[in-house]
């Protein structure tokens, strides 16, 4: 049977991807950010899964305009990196695990998540920057990736509580997949940031640190943070943190925290990152 063995959360700031692609990771500005990922780059060598279910939001690259699904699963065989206005990131093509993706879609509908399937799309920095942060710059990504796209940009977005339940449903779905796969779930985005107006540049370190404090062992109260509270406290884009809840719920009751990291700033954003191993 397949098993969810670990989870990673990380911000997915586009400038981080640019820093990697342009060889600036040792620069004065960027070095302290990348230092926070030294642990996971070592850890992943012994913990490379067969498949990552990667929760991210599309930044008006494939979705958001003509079609705005609340929850969607990438269902193409493979996904190219999107041209977001400055050319495609020079990263490997992302390869899907269709059998597991199909199984999860089928199981989620049983659990009343009427998931959208996407047969063709490019994936943007929301998905590729986390892969680069963890795996560096390989010729090919070392595992399959199932893109799980969450609408966190256009209201109404799903609630944090709904995302939590989706994570639980993904856990149940993976556990019932007959093949013995090692699966990780990654939640990306956040932490606090706002990208427009007189509140642009908003950072709420107190909120962010409390979120990380509670996520591993006392995540219950995080489930009930409302969308309005995310907007007020963490900025209009800080609500991406609901995707961390998908990851945490998918890991089940007990986790071992292997790493936590927090750093301000990367471009407009507070960078947060955790690594959890599942206990059950």
């Amino acid at each position: 049977m397949a098993r969810i063995t670990a989870g990673i959360a990380t911000s997915h700031v586009p400038a981080i991807g640019a820093a990697i692609d342009l060889g600036k990771t040792k620069d004065l500005y960027w070095a302290p950010v990348f230092q926070g990922y030294e642990f996971v780059k070592e850890w992943i060598k012994d913990h490379t899964p067969d498949v990552i279910i990667l929760a991210y939001n599309d930044h008006a690259s494939a979705l958001m305009m003509d079609i705005v699904p609340t929850f969607a699963i990438g269902f193409a065989d493979e996904f190219q990196s999107a041209d977001e206005g400055w050319g495609r990131r020079p990263v490997p093509v992302v390869k899907n695990h269709i059998d597991l993706a199909a199984h999860i879609a089928e199981q989620l509908v049983i659990d009343e998540f009427d998931i959208t399937l996407i047969n063709e799309m490019d994936v943007d920095h929301g998905l590729t920057v986390p892969l680069s942060l963890v795996f560096g710059q390989p010729e090919e990504w070392p595992c399959k990736v199932i893109p799980l796209v969450v609408n966190v940009s256009q209201f109404p977005t799903p609630s944090g509580e709904r995302c939590w339940k989706l994570g639980e449903a993904i856990r149940d779905a993976v556990k019932s997949f007959p093949e013995g796969l090692d699966v990780q779930v990654w939640g990306t985005g956040g932490m606090s940031h706002q990208l427009h107006g007189t509140r642009a540049g908003l950072i709420n370190e107190e909120f962010d640190r409390k979120f990380i404090d509670l996520l591993a062992h006392e995540p219950e109260e995080l489930k009930y943070i409302t969308r309005l509270e995310y907007l007020r406290e963490t900025g209009t884009e800080g609500i991406e943190l609901i995707m961390w809840l998908i990851m945490r719920a998918a890991l089940g009751y007990g986790v071992e925290e292997k790493k936590r990291f927090y750093r301000v700033p990367a471009s407009n954003t507070a960078v947060g990152h955790v690594v959890y191993e599942a206990k059950s």
């Binding site: 606090s192 709420n204 907007l231 301000v264 407009n268």
Partner: protein, 134 residues
């Protein structure tokens, strides 16, 4: 059936200096966003740069939105239904970083904004709610 809400919908408009990107705003910005997403292709970026006005006229945007693009007034474009994830394609076409693009909507200079971020960003104190002034 009466609906239970966790907060009144109007509260989404109660955040200082903030336009929450609602479905209605998405509709208002739709053709502006069509233009922005067209810039995801190199040949379209070239065509736009060669004659901005002519390129914009291919889209069903309002005159105000077109002028906002020509002026690179991202703050105005957000007032007209724009969302930063789309507008960043325009900024990228100009070779501007996301941080610089965002700073132009903040009322601060790019340098002041960058310095604020280096110093830990903007505190949420006093700018959570227009009504509660907290």
């Amino acid at each position: 059936m009466p609906r239970k809400r966790l907060y009144p919908l109007e509260d989404l408009e109660d955040i200082p200096g903030t336009k929450v990107f609602t479905a209605r705003r998405s509709r208002q910005g739709y053709y502006l966003h069509k233009f922005c997403m067209s810039l995801m292709k190199a040949e379209n970026r070239e065509e736009f740069k060669a004659d901005e006005r002519a390129y914009l006229d291919k889209f069903k945007m309002t005159e105000e939105q077109k002028q906002g693009v020509l002026d690179r007034d991202l703050g105005k474009l957000i007032d007209l239904g724009g969302n930063m994830y789309f507008l960043v394609k325009l900024a990228s076409t100009d070779g501007l970083s996301a941080q610089k693009a965002v700073s132009t909507t903040s009322g601060m200079s790019a340098e002041e904004y960058a310095q604020m971020m280096l110093e830990g960003g903007r505190s949420p104190e006093g700018i959570r709610s227009i009504r509660d002034k907290n």
